[in-house]
């Protein structure tokens, strides 16, 4: 009750003003048979201090070192990002349907669209999706609207397995088949052995780079009429690497100042060519002028959206990921082009340093292709290594056998700037575990 506005007196006064005796009189439109006849059984009310104590008591241990990425990356979140994004003007504002009261949010979306379009090398980007996985699914749905005669989508086996699962869910009741493109065991790259005809006849070809196994893809020369959807789950890599030349670029912004939060909320990005703009899902913010001719921003092309077009909308998406887009925008603004590139280089160097360190300890890298900040290590010669390190609260990456049968004791290892200072001591720990296992 502590958040609501009424006192016993105001309640009585308001009931009198309405002309009823009690709250029950206001519920009389609900038939007795529908009413709940017992009190709700949930915990509380708890005072704030008890609530915090209850959560504290639940907390368990934390890993000392977690070299875990696989689509969600442990990057440092600069203090200004947390501080600025905690301002209530961002946190407690609504979707900017009333532009006169939401220029801040609208300008932010426009900046976000500008940053994403540049990073992906695309002409336009929208104001964000729920996350990378749903952005991919929506990209394929958009490709299907653009290419209604095509009935097959080719998806690399090295696209994030959870993204592929979400795509399968979205396509479950559509007349389009998903075919998997295999990965080359030696390089870790996708093998695209499709004839030009097969490429042209596909709704889309979906490639992720760096892919789920860390390898940087080089799809080479696709047929000019093939429709490529490029996925990127580690957006920081775009500061260093050329983006895939795709018809639609989608991915995850989490690396840009968004805490991992167990995978949600994050923000997806969605960028494409201007000619496709009317088939895009999600919100778009455009620059315009106000009644006095001054620069002003507003939501635009809303005629694609569900609240106007209903069942003919390009997507059902409504509330999306505004506050997470804000985090990404502030982060990109703060680091700037140069800061972002230097950070990306630091990640790439730290990951190579660690990979080389593992090789010196007798472990092997699974793939040959260049990587960004993530790679697969083959620890099959030391089958107890992973668990030994885990007992010491060091997580040596993500076991890949969960998704790829035959990849037992292969671990996807991610190294970022947050690990930089401790890499030598982690290698020492791996060394002692190698000798002990």
């Amino acid at each position: 009750m502590r958040y609501s506005g009424s006192t016993r007196q105001s309640r009585a006064d308001m009931l009198a003003a309405i002309g009823v005796e009690g709250i029950e009189d206001l519920l009389r439109s609900i038939p007795a048979e529908a009413r709940m006849k017992r009190p709700l059984e949930v915990e509380g009310p708890l005072p704030e201090s008890d609530l915090l104590a209850r959560l504290d008591a639940m907390k368990g241990r934390r890993p000392r070192v977690a070299l875990v990425g696989a689509g969600l990356y442990q990057h440092y979140v600069p203090a200004p990002v947390d501080a600025l994004c905690a301002r209530s003007e961002w946190v407690t504002s609504y979707t900017p349907y009333q532009p006169e009261l939401a220029q801040g949010t609208l300008v932010m979306y426009w900046e976000f669209q500008s940053y994403i379009a540049q990073l992906t090398g695309q002409e336009i980007a929208n104001g964000g999706m729920y996350d990378g996985s749903t952005a991919l699914a929506e990209a394929v749905l958009m490709a299907m609207r653009l290419r209604p005669a095509q009935k097959r989508v080719y998806v690399s086996e090295a696209v994030h397995p959870e993204y592929r699962a979400v795509l399968a869910t979205y396509l479950r009741f559509h007349d389009v088949a998903i075919e998997t493109l295999p990965v080359d065991r030696a390089t870790g790259r996708t093998k695209i052995a499709l004839s030009p005809d097969a490429q042209r006849d596909a709704v889309a070809i979906v490639i992720q780079s760096p892919n789920f196994l860390g390898a940087i893809e080089q799809p080479g020369s696709l047929d000019p009429n093939a429709f490529l959807i490029g996925v990127c789950t580690e957006a920081l890599s775009l500061a260093l690497l050329p983006p895939l030349r795709a018809n639609i670029s989608v991915g995850e912004c989490q690396s840009f100042g968004i805490p991992m939060q167990l995978g949600g909320p994050t923000a997806g990005f969605f960028a494409t060519r201007k000619e496709y703009v009317r088939q895009m899902p999600g919100r778009l913010v455009g620059k315009s002028v106000d009644a006095d001719g001054r620069e002003a921003f507003c939501i635009t092309l809303a005629t694609r959206e569900q609240f106007i077009r209903r069942e003919k909308a390009t997507s059902n998406i409504c509330t999306s990921s505004g506050l997470m887009c804000l985090r990404a925008t502030v982060y990109l603004s703060l680091l700037g082009r140069k800061g972002l590139e230097e950070l990306a280089e630091k990640n790439a160097r730290a990951a190579r340093f660690f990979a080389q360190g593992l090789e010196k300890l007798g472990l092997e890298l699974e793939h040959r292709a260049p990587f960004f900040n993530e790679f697969v290590v083959d620890a099959s010669s030391k089958p107890r290594l992973y668990d030994t390190l885990l007992d010491r609260d060091v997580i040596l990456g993500v076991p890949l056998s969960r998704w790829y049968p035959g990849m037992e004791h292969r671990y996807l290892v991610n190294v970022t700037e947050v690990h930089y200072a401790s890499l030598r001591s982690v290698l020492e720990e791996v060394k002692s575990a190698v000798h002990g296992s």
């Binding site: 006064d13 609900i30 995978g263 909320p265 002003a296 190579r352």
Partner: protein, 452 residues
């Protein structure tokens, strides 16, 4: 940034690098960045500044303790692929939240995964589709949707391959059993009902309609956008709904964030359980999102529920209804009320009696000058010139009176000084924005002025 370790900094990079400039990136100092986003933020309206009587959006106070717990590093910086031993508290919170949502809704099962309300709808319509396909009832491809429904309902239904059939509400602003029954043929898969509906009216025939739909083998979806009106009052899962979504960012005080993130868990009964995204069964439609869902919202909702307890949650709904009825009573002599049926948590007026050609849009824009966010306008679509007010329980009577006084003041201006209203707002960082120009001359991103 060169670190402290030359051995790492000296590692050679075997990479093909991008050569394009990304010239639209700023290169600024920290204070430049801080000032830019601080100044931008001050051009926003937000709940902490004033009342947001946005119908069906439930813009109520977001308790600050929610933000405190969500920002705790233990809960903010955690990865779903960490081994279970590190995620005990997180699992416990999710288990308890699911149990709480099951209790308030009366459903046996909860799936927390969907990322927002519309995403929960999508998960639910996919489950319904899988349910009929498994039963071989492949002709059931139509979903009935009342004219009061949110646009997300038909949009979600279409994404699972359903056709939508709109049903007109009756003269009391409610769906009537007699209007539904003729549509319950072999092609009907389900009905999607928001209850209370977007006119703020309890759907009196809900139980009878649900029974009739079930009788013919169909399913009942309840849109939970207006759940703030019914906690402890009725449980949708006990009166005929098979599946519904929650909006944690409405009812359970996780913030709207200028357009998200939301969180849209769904509740459902045994009929649909095998098909749920996270059921782990072969019948599952599969995940609708990577990872577990909007964890950062779960912990806020968990906190909110415990801050109030069961009696507190019921009081939320009662006071939301009290406030809406108070606003209705004080305004119904002044604004036209198209439906006079009992009001629950929100009330819909329209611009029928506004003088001098003043429209709902004008009226809404002038309220801004009095320090209020406008109500929801031109929705629901079946009310011409709708003005939809949801005060929520967290506004005091004093604040409601201030809002009511503002409405009366604008009415007075509409009579005596209509141009002032038609040209509003006058006090905002920008005046009315030319939305037609924005759509006609698309300008969606920064362009390098040097590149022509």
């Amino acid at each position: 940034v060169v670190g402290a370790d030359p051995a790492i900094d000296g590692v050679k990079l075997d990479l093909e690098r991008r050569t394009d400039g990304c010239n639209g990136f700023s290169q600024v100092t920290e204070i430049d960045c801080v000032r830019h986003y601080t100044r931008l933020s001050t051009t926003n309206f937000d709940i902490n500044r004033g009342m947001y009587p946005l119908g069906s959006c439930t813009m109520k106070h977001n308790p600050l303790v929610n933000e405190k717990v969500a920002a705790d590093p233990h809960f903010a910086h955690c990865h779903p692929y960490w081994p279970e031993k590190y995620l005990a508290a997180h699992s416990q919170v999710m288990k308890e939240l699911a149990r709480d949502l099951a209790e308030v809704s009366g459903f046996e099962h909860i799936c927390l995964q969907p990322a927002a309300g519309a995403h929960g709808e999508l998960a639910a319509v996919l489950m319904m589709r899988a349910y009929f396909d498994q039963r071989g009832e492949t002709s059931r491809r139509t979903i009935l949707i009342p004219d009061t429904a949110h646009g997300t309902n038909p949009a979600s239904a279409a994404m699972a391959g359903f056709e939508c059939k709109q049903i007109a509400s009756g003269p009391e602003g409610m769906l009537r059993l007699a209007d539904v029954v003729p549509h319950l043929d072999a092609s009907c898969a389900a009905i999607m009902v928001t209850n209370p509906n977007t006119l703020g009216i309890y759907e009196k025939d809900f139980i009878a309609i649900a029974a009739a739909v079930h009788e013919k083998g169909g399913l009942v979806y309840m849109d939970g956008a207006n759940f703030n009106a019914i906690m402890g009052v009725f449980q949708p899962g006990k009166i005929g709904a098979d599946v519904m979504h929650f909006n944690l960012h409405k009812t359970f005080t996780t913030p709207h964030g200028g357009g998200g993130p939301g969180s849209g868990p769904i509740g459902y009964n045994a009929k649909l359980a095998p098909f749920a995204p996270t059921s782990g069964k072969p019948e599952s439609v599969g995940p609708v999102k990577a990872w577990l869902g909007q964890w950062g919202m779960f912990i806020r909702a968990w906190t909110y529920i415990r801050a109030l307890g069961g009696t507190g949650l019921k009081a939320v709904s009662e006071e939301a209804i009290l406030n809406a009825n108070y606003v209705r009573k004080r305004l119904e002599g002044s604004l036209n009320l198209p439906y006079r049926t009992e009001t629950m948590h929100e009330v819909v007026f329209n611009d029928k009696d506004l003088p001098n050609g003043i429209t709902t849009g004008d009226f809404a824009k002038r309220l801004i000058d009095y320090g209020f966010h406008p109500p929801t306008v031109y929705f629901p679509i079946m009310v011409k010139g709708a003005l939809m007010i949801e005060p929520t329980e967290t506004e005091t009577r004093r604040e409601l009176d201030r809002f009511i006084d503002a409405v009366h003041a604008v009415l007075e201006e509409a009579r005596n000084n209509p141009d002032l209203v038609k040209s509003a707002p006058h006090t905002t960082p920008v005046r009315r924005v030319n939305e037609t120009l924005a759509a006609r001359k698309l300008d969606l991103r920064w362009h390098d002025p040097k590149a022509t």
